[in-house]
Amino acid sequence: MSSYPIGDLIAERVRAMGVKPFYKHFQHNGVTGPNMATVYSDQGFGVRAPVVFYNRCNEAAAQLKPGDFDWPRIFSGGVRWVHSGGIFAALSPTTAPLAAEMMKAAKAAGAITSFDLNFREKLWKIHGGNERAVETIATIVENVDVLVGNEEDLQKGLGIPGPEVAAKSKLDPSVFFGMIDNVVKKHSHVKVVATTLREVHSTNRHSWSAVAWIDGKTYSAPTAELDVLDRVGGGDGFAAGFIYGLLTGEGPEDAVKLGWAHGALLTTFPGDTTMATIDQVRAFAKGGSARIQR
């Protein structure tokens, strides 16, 4: 966390969401940083897609490195689930080793570990390209139980060969499931691989589903036709709801549906973090509708 007004603003929102922070603090020099990254993203409309670009110049998070956090102390009271993702791992040459260090410590502490592959070619181009990405991500995944990622993430992030069957549509899970054998061949300790499926008809109209391979069996959520207000955060919403389902002991199919429902609801709110209640998520997961609730 960088000590300047943008850092203060972010810290305030973290507090508001009830998330307990473990920050490494950086002193902002008032001119060039270290900065909290800026994402520029309009919402688009109809046939006009959203346009997203970044300013990650001198980003504080990119300076994080192994040794910055005392994992044995942080995990000393026990931890049930530990998570990170591919965008953070791609920020600099030191962030992936830090994520790998955390995953190793998390496994030693008895936690379940998950990693959202979220492959971003533009970021990896800066740090050695696709080959380097696969080598680097493998050092993290060797201590990961649960992977979140689509076919492209599996292909580019894990170096899994491309699909041998052509997908009938973006909602056809056969390509994704067809790659799981190779994922498990390469990373035999992985127990769960999950992803969302999204067919974009227009910026504000998506067909939305989700699937998971859980300990050798496959599970699918239904397909919903979504009227999308703001698509950013839908994938994170799926991961959040799915992990919630697994942490609370739901059946595997119900866990997938909770992720699917939470991701769907996320697209109806402005912003990236959830505003959904558990009752709304459960109602939609069970086939609820948008009929007014009085």
Binding site: M17, D42, V51, F69, G78, R80, D215, L247, T273, M275
Partner: protein, 57 residues
Amino acid sequence: MSYGLNILEAAELDFLSLGALVHRLDPGIIPFRKATECKIHVSGGEFNVAAWRIVLA
């Protein structure tokens, strides 16, 4: 329900994530090259997943 995972029943921390916090500037449906104002959303993939706990729990 095990899912092939050995999930601890209880611990001091339910969920911990590691990632970058970012702020997203959102001018709504107006493209940035014509925008005169925007909203600020605090985000970051790992934060977004962690933020479920307070709302969903």
